[in-house]
Symmetry: C2
Subunit: 437 residues, 2 copies
């Protein structure tokens, strides 16, 4: 008999590895924050003695969802300016609001609100790009949330840094401070080809190689961006990134709604990860990412919500559903992105993109216990023919009952065990009153 911290008995376990597998009446043994074993519940009694046992009789246990692109603090701008085109939205609403309001306090409160929302909808890890990434990292560590914080880079000054040198310096310092963190990793986060010039991109390429961390960047979000890049640099932004040596397995290219066939081939050859943000792309009318073609070409495609100001939620269950549905519509193939592929995109593929697939992204022994339980007894999920299909095509965030990050039970029976919801709600209202003026 082995003594362990926690034993979770679930009606179904969907481990993501192997792909598409659903295990009936299985249990997960957790000790020291890690998955010890995934085994039939019938075999548990003779093998493990657990300090805590949790029964999930109507639930599917899945790997915690990985939101591979967001700007978490922007949750405080959620719904500030809707139904507007990208450039109008950025130039006349979001950028002015950021210039006026973004501060350490804003990032702290916005990120806490975002983490609360993410945990309540089954997300255990997010890849962030925003100002004051040091604050984001501290909030994550305090909340027990896994994240990759972006070391942001822009040609323009902000409340966080005055120019390329300071962005880079502060980023490298933060990377150094976080190098032993179990929960928070870092990536370079040059905002976009149209906001970062060649010299800082070359330095980022060099440091990323040296430090062995990802590069997280908006690329080809709109046709306008591609046209403008062509005019300014005489080549498409992706070609410019290739010229600068940025195309490779470290690159997380976010959005990618504008792609030529040979660009798709090159993404596959160079092992670039594409981060698909379907709701944001739809909401801003940015274009359609050719997800099914990318997947067929062998590109690693992960999913992100983008910030709450252009989505307007951080709900990866909904993002999976919309990704699965939209890929069918765009490709004209109703078999495109079936349920198990959507779940893989939102879990293991995200971990791969972030270079943390050895630690998270699937429910296998040795990985961190990053998990979400989804109650499939909701009326709107009846009857259950296939639990995986019900998760993708019927479940909503209120069916997420329990979430663990690194073995810590951060959401228990719908309740956040760390963050204070009422306080978050009050703080959000205070920010709204200030921002709305």
């Amino acid at each position: 008999m082995q003594t362990i911290d926690t034993l979770i008995n679930a009606r179904w376990v969907i481990p993501v590895e192997p792909d598409g597998k659903t295990l009936d009446h299985h249990s997960i043994a957790v000790h020291g924050g890690k998955i010890v074993e995934v085994l039939p519940t019938a075999n548990v009694a003779k093998k493990y003695r657990a300090t805590e046992t949790i029964d999930l009789p109507h639930h599917a246990l899945i790997p915690g969802l990985i939101n591979a692109h967001t700007h978490s603090a922007m949750s405080l701008f959620r719904g500030l300016a809707d139904d507007l085109p990208l450039m109008d939205w950025l130039n006349h609403h979001i950028w002015p609001a950021e210039a006026k309001w973004v501060s350490e306090a804003f990032v702290r409160d916005g990120t806490e609100l975002a983490i609360a929302e993410m945990l309540k909808s089954g997300t255990t890890c997010f890849n962030d790009m925003y100002f004051f990434p040091d604050v984001t990292a501290r909030v994550c560590a305090d909340a027990g949330m896994r994240a990759c914080v972006g070391l942001i880079m822009l040609d323009f000054p902000s409340a966080w840094a005055q120019g390329a040198d300071e962005y880079l310096h502060k980023g490298l310092k933060l990377h150094d401070e976080l190098r032993n963190s179990e929960l928070v990793s870092t990536a370079f986060a040059p905002h976009a080809p149209y906001t970062v010039s060649d010299a800082p991109l070359e330095r980022i390429r060099m440091y990323a190689d040296e430090l062995d961390i990802p590069i997280h960047m908006h690329v080809h979000e709109t046709a306008h961006e591609v046209d403008a890049g062509q005019k300014q640099f005489g080549m498409r932004p992706l070609a410019r990134l290739a010229k600068l040596g940025l195309l490779g397995p470290r690159l997380l290219a976010v959005h990618m709604t504008q792609l030529l066939p040979d660009e798709i081939t090159s993404l596959a050859q160079d092992n670039v990860s594409v981060i698909h943000c379907p709701e944001s792309n739809l909401k801003l009318a940015s274009g359609f990412c050719p997800v099914q073609t990318l997947v067929k070409a062998g590109v690693n495609v992960a999913l992100g919500t983008d910030g709450a100001a252009s989505n307007n939620n951080l709900d990866m269950l909904e993002e999976m559903r919309i990704a699965a549905l939209l890929a069918k519509g765009v490709s004209g193939e109703a078999t495109a992105i079936p349920a198990h592929t959507a779940l893989r995109m939102a879990t293991l593929n995200g971990a791969k993109a972030l270079g943390i697939e050895a630690h998270t992204g699937s429910l296998v022994a040795g990985k961190a216990a990053d998990m979400a339980a989804i109650d499939l007894s909701a009326i709107s999920s009846q009857p259950v023919y296939d639990p995986l299909s019900q998760i993708i095509y019927t479940a909503t965030r209120d069916q997420v009952t329990d979430v663990w990050v690194n073995g810590r039970h951060l959401l228990a029976k719908h309740q956040l065990t760390g963050l204070d919801e009422a306080a978050l709600r009050d703080k959000a209202a205070q920010w709204r009153d200030k921002i709305k003026g």
Copy 2:
């Protein structure tokens, strides 16, 4: 002082008429199932004495949502066969399952399950097309649900009828039985141009004029349907319906993913209503309905979920969100289908399509008290800059707390007051066990 049944004090009331209006701290006075007045809460005390007062301090009160196209009993096939193309899905999965399982008991249990799901997500009226519409009508009357039941017509025999004569006869009989029903109306429901031949369509046209009821039909769902119609009849299905005299204000043309510019003009001129089912169209890769173009042309566009076997839920909040997002993506205009238009499509436009806009579809004095309360205090809806935007772009069905149909409080604090959820869950599981075999 006037004595009334119910007074509801809401943080916000969004009446849909006038379009886009949000009323702060307003109340709705209800008596005898009807809305007596919408007024500022501050003015209530001196005017009304209510038997029951309900406070909704964090909620928006909206007109009950109208699901303008569904096959409610198919909820028992939810998730039976996903990630398949329309014709494969129909020919090899849905139609064989229907041939084997559809019966009075199936329609009763499936419709009850669907009504429970619809009420819990804010829907107060649905437009149905399925076999045994007499059973559907009875279940609605028992549950207190508003519906328009389709008098289905097919060239093929089914458990409900053997051929055109019997479909028509049974349909007319049901129409007659329901002619005094306050909650349940009827529409002719010829399945689709490719499943109903000219003679029965001509008879339907004649009877529809005589009885003054709508005609509810799948039209131009896929390119395949249009091509096949062109080959068989030498014209596109819409042209054939025009030739048969079916294009007019009575027609609810469902799906409409294949439309030429002059067809859009003719839909507008003839006052045809288009029922847009974005999730179903995406899931079956049927094509994109040009919603923004239709709205600009002045066509009345309403929203439907389609059946739960191709969606896979009956959640009109989600359908509004996806309609608003997809219209932006398809038109390339981020201003397309703003939040208030999405809500209007899911309420008043549905009522107009069904010819019941004098009775429901907006919160104005004299109409039935068909209403849904949405709690905007959820973490994922914070902060609230604009309640209407938060409903469309952030809210999920779990935020629906209370629903009234014709003044009856059918959902109270998330609990169904009539239907028994546990019993519905058990019945759904029994059907699954039989159907899965």
